[in-house]
């Protein structure tokens, strides 16, 4: 369910963000479906590979996309369990996202390009902060939900949970949103549209990718954004009617709202100085810690 929705709508979400930004900037912007067109066009292109690169460069995007897809299978939709759901799958989600990141890092370094190296350096740097922050966010959610499966967490985060520990959930949601921004190379951490080499992170890593590889990278990025947005939507949209359709739609709406919010932020905020980024990330981590601490009263016994 989620897999389907993700594959279908993830590029749309990217389009939505872009469109929002364009409108805010007073332009008309690309069509919402432009991303799909780009992906298809890229997939049909040939490729140029550097002599420096090895199989790792070619495997990177595929592995990255596989990881994004795998992450998608862990996410539930509208209260129904995800394709893969078991206690602890929250950690697996973190794990596959990290694997995808390492694949991209190594693929970037394989080119021997100074820009790719710089991008990889920054990506790795941010990762050292986002990973604990994400884990803490998930810990906070798991605490409120008394479970460590994404699906169960989503089921549990209904209005009851919100009324019981609204503070914790609000903090966690804020923190999660911050992680989303950082992990997906959004402003204020990175600028997905910039091509000023010295400032970019994610884009610098994929400079040498082209054709189907770039398509995979772009799709993986879109899916990753979708994964985070969907996760965030599960938290901030506490609609749990029990009817899968309604809940699913509510979640989709939440995702869309996240997309709009992203667009709004990117239109109004400037990119942070690099040196300030960790400070913001630490702040996000602190929010998550507070989120865990404020969570529901501890249960007694096993």
């Amino acid at each position: 369910m989620q897999l389907l929705a993700g594959l279908l709508f993830a590029p749309l979400l990217v389009g939505l963000v872009r469109r929002t930004k364009a409108i805010a900037a007073g332009r008309r912007g690309d069509p919402l479906l432009q991303v799909y067109a780009d992906l298809f066009k890229l997939a049909r292109k040939g490729a140029v590979y550097s002599r420096t690169t090895t199989w790792l460069f070619r495997a990177g995007p595929a592995l990255g996309l596989a990881c994004a897809l795998a992450a998608l299978t862990l996410l539930p939709m509208g209260g129904t369990s995800a394709l893969v759901a078991f206690p602890g799958d929250l950690l697996l989600l973190v794990g596959v996202l990290a694997l995808g990141r390492l694949a991209m890092l190594l693929a970037a370094l394989d080119t021997g390009s100074a820009f790719a190296g710089m991008g990889a350096s920054r990506e790795a740097w941010f990762g050292t902060w986002t990973e604990p922050a994400l884990l803490l966010c998930l810990a906070a959610l798991a605490r409120v939900a008394h479970d460590s499966s994404v699906s169960a967490v989503q089921r549990a985060l209904g209005p009851a949970a919100w009324s019981a520990s609204s503070g914790a959930l609000a903090l966690t949601a804020a923190s999660l949103f911050g992680v989303l921004l950082a992990e997906n190379a959004r402003i204020p951490f990175d600028d997905p549209t910039t091509h000023l080499e010295l400032t970019m992170v994610h884009e610098a890593m994929v400079l040498d990718h082209g054709g189907v590889d770039l398509a995979m990278v772009e799709l993986a990025a879109a899916l990753k954004l979708w994964v985070f947005a969907s996760l965030l939507a599960s938290v901030i949209v506490p609609v749990r009617t029990g009817v899968a359709g309604i809940d699913g739609l509510a979640q989709l709406a939440g995702v869309a709202a996240v997309g709009l919010a992203l667009g709004a932020i990117e239109s109004t905020t400037a990119r942070l100085r690099l040196a300030r980024v960790p400070q913001l990330l630490i702040g996000i981590g602190v929010l998550a810690v507070l989120g865990v601490m404020l969570g529901a009263a501890p249960e007694v016994g096993p």
């Binding site: 897809l69 893969v84 596959v96 890092l105 080119t111 190296g117 990889a120 604990p132 054709g211």
Partner: protein
């Protein structure tokens, strides 16, 4: 037990045979390496039997030395540690027999194999001894054997220095163990393990002694200083053996200690957790700055041992509040990491050895492009690097998963909340930093363009060496997927450590089920990636695929010197921690109109060594030199001392 004894005999015979055949290098290698492999194979059988649930008779013979008994036993805990000792031992021997052939110099390869086999035998006795004297003898034999292996290249001064640091550190650690065992045996008057009963009072002090003593061998943070010196100095098969297996005997010691001290109070868990988090984060941070591949790996071992300690700590904390789920998950994480890290670190050190032999150096800033030149070794290293970051579906992940899950469960117990939070944040941080480190090790050393002529001229190493690494890489994937088998094997050992906490068993079975799913999921990810690779190939089949230079935003004449260096890759991360690490850069910027050439040195200081131990040693040193006037050569003074001693003692006893 017969099998184990014959394994020990074969090892000793192999080593002695190698020594006896010192005239013929070939015979010595055949006997030494053959003995190691044969002995390990023999020894694996009883270990696996015990893990499969077949109890093994213990050996208990009188021994005339004071307090000693020749008591050997293989219980679940011993067997669990025996398996990596023998498995990695045999692997390293196979690799080493090929590796050593190209090590020039006047070193005695016969002596190498003698000590190698002795080290294996000593480690096997360490984990099976059931008497403290026997244990300590084996423990020291292990230290001696490893010392002689480390100083194999003793014609180099830095190797001798590294060996000395190792020896000093291990001896200081052993001093604590002597105190520990002597104190433990005081109550019962015997040094047999069987008589070490749980004691209410004094357990805390005993545990502290054991923690320092065993922690030194394991390489836990404040006591780790020997590790980054010794492992790079040793020949690579030895580094692999030390890092993958020998430091785990420290973990074994801590685990064994826990079986004697009764139900652990919360403080034990807190101490282990604190040490573990400090080692994990400190280790990985220090690893990041290293230029030397093997030094990097050594610090990474500090990190990984830290993760083991975190697991143990969480397990004990769970035990202390009677939370079997947390206890089971924590301890399982620790034991999973013992095996997982053994595979990963053996793989990485052996691959690093291949790099060393292919290029003559391990400085990442002079490497690069090795994946093209050494495809098999490079691929194996890539797998190892991914496993090092604890990513699914590789060998490091199951332990990370279990440890994090334990912390997630621990959040539910009020008193464990702060500890769980620390563990989650710490492990998350370690994961991110490890990824940066792995990117540096793999990305700078193996990818991109070669940064030196030596790297450019590298060729794939001998098949036996590359094949061993490839086999270990495969093992690391299999381990990541089939880890529940290990949990099952570790179950009785975990029950020993946690002293039969009720509910442990079912929690462990639950973990097994979860890990099957995790493994399956990981396999699925790999399969998906493979499928996508096929899709990609299909898409590209009819398209034009060209090969050119790296685009790099259009630079037409890139040189390898324009690549990002390893130091710059991790520089933003390192700089954040300068307050902890001390200054990492020595800058001499250009000044004035006719500036001298500017300099920028990156260094990777070890704050514990530089600001902790070095001043301590310097203080002892200066105290010693300040007392030298006592021996001034003047007989007048000497007689005066004599008289003063007489006077003093009379005033003391008769005054």
């Amino acid at each position: 037990m017969t099998l184990l004894l014959s394994a020990l005999l074969v090892l000793i015979a192999g080593g002695a045979g190698a020594l006896a055949a010192w005239r013929s290098e070939r015979t010595a290698t055949a006997l030494g390496a053959g003995g190691a492999v044969a002995g390990a194979a023999l020894g694996l059988v009883p270990a696996l039997q015990v893990l499969a649930g077949m109890p093994l008779a213990t050996l208990d013979l009188p021994w005339s030395v004071p307090g000693g008994r020749l008591a050997l036993g293989v219980d679940a805990l011993s067997a669990f540690f025996l398996v990596p000792i023998f498995a990695i031992g045999a692997t390293s021997a196979v690799y080493g027999s090929a590796y050593l052939r190209r090590e020039a110099g006047h070193h005695s390869k016969a002596a190498f194999w003698f000590w190698f086999d002795a080290l294996l035998a000593a480690m096997a006795v360490v984990v099976t001894a059931r008497n403290a004297v026997l244990f300590l003898v084996a423990w020291e034999a292990m230290a001696l054997a490893s010392y002689f292996l480390i100083v194999f290249h003793h014609e180099r001064a830095e190797v001798r220095r590294a060996g000395w640091i190792y020896l000093a550190a291990t001896q200081l650690g052993t001093a604590f163990l002597l105190a520990f065992f002597a104190a433990l045996g005081r109550a019962s008057g015997s040094l047999d393990f069987a008589s070490f009963a749980a004691r209410g009072s004094g357990a805390g002090a005993l545990f502290a002694l054991a923690l320092v003593g065993f922690g030194t061998k394991a390489g836990l943070l404040p006591f780790h200083v020997w590790l980054p010196e010794a492992h790079p100095a040793a020949p690579s098969p030895v580094s692999a053996l030390l890092s993958a297996v020998m430091i785990k005997t420290g973990i074994y010691g801590i685990a064994r200690t826990l079986t004697w001290l009764g139900p652990p109070p919360q403080s034990f868990g807190v101490a282990l957790l604190a040490l573990g988090i400090a080692s994990a984060t400190g280790g990985v941070l220090l690893a990041l700055g290293q230029r030397d591949l093997k030094r990097f790996l050594a610090y990474s071992s500090v990190e990984n041992v830290g993760v083991i300690a975190v697991g143990l700590g969480l397990g004990l904390l769970g035990s202390s509040v009677h939370a079997p789920a947390v206890a089971a998950l924590g301890l399982a994480a620790a034991l999973l990491q013992v095996w997982g890290h053994a595979i990963i670190k053996a793989l990485l050190f052996l691959s690093a050895g291949s790099v060393l032999q292919a290029t003559g150096g391990c400085d990442v800033e002079r490497l690069g492009g090795l994946l093209q030149r050494m495809p098999l070794s490079g691929a194996a290293f890539a797998v190892g690097a991914a496993a090092l970051c604890a990513l699914p579906p590789f060998a490091g992940f199951p332990a990370e998963f279990a440890a994090l899950l334990a912390s997630f469960r621990g959040i539910g117990y009020g008193s464990l909340l702060p500890f769980s939070l620390v563990a989650i944040a710490g492990l998350g941080m370690v994961g991110g930093l490890a990824a940066a480190g792995a990117a540096k090790a793999m990305g700078i050393a193996f990818l991109g363009e070669p940064r030196s002529p030596a790297a450019a001229a590298a060729r794939e190493v001998k098949r036996a060496m590359a094949g061993t690494c490839a086999g270990l890489a495969a093992a690391s994937i299999v381990f990541g997927i089939a880890s529940p088998v290990v949990v099952r094997a570790a179950r009785p050992a975990i029950e020993l450590i946690a002293s039969a906490e009720p509910g442990l068993d079912s929690a462990l079975r639950g973990l097994e089920a979860l890990l099957w799913r995790v493994g399956g999921f990981g396999a699925g990810v790999l399969a998906t990636a493979a499928t996508l690779g096929l899709v990609r190939r299909a898409l590209l089949r009819e398209r034009e695929v060209r090969v050119g230079p790296t685009w790099d935003c259009g630079y037409a004449a890139p040189t390898s010197r324009m690549q990002y260096t390893g130091a710059s890759l991790v520089q933003p991360i390192i700089r954040q921690f300068e307050t902890l690490l001390g200054p990492t850069r020595i800058e001499a910027p250009p000044v004035g109109p006719f500036a001298a050439p500017a300099r920028l040195d990156q260094r990777a200081p070890d704050p514990i060594g530089e600001r902790g131990f070095a001043p301590l040693f310097a203080a002892v040193d200066s105290l010693a030199l300040r007392l030298r006037w006592l021996q001034s050569g003047s007989t007048h003074r000497y007689v005066l001392f004599l008289v003063l001693a007489t006077v003093a003692i009379f005033f003391w006893k008769r005054g």
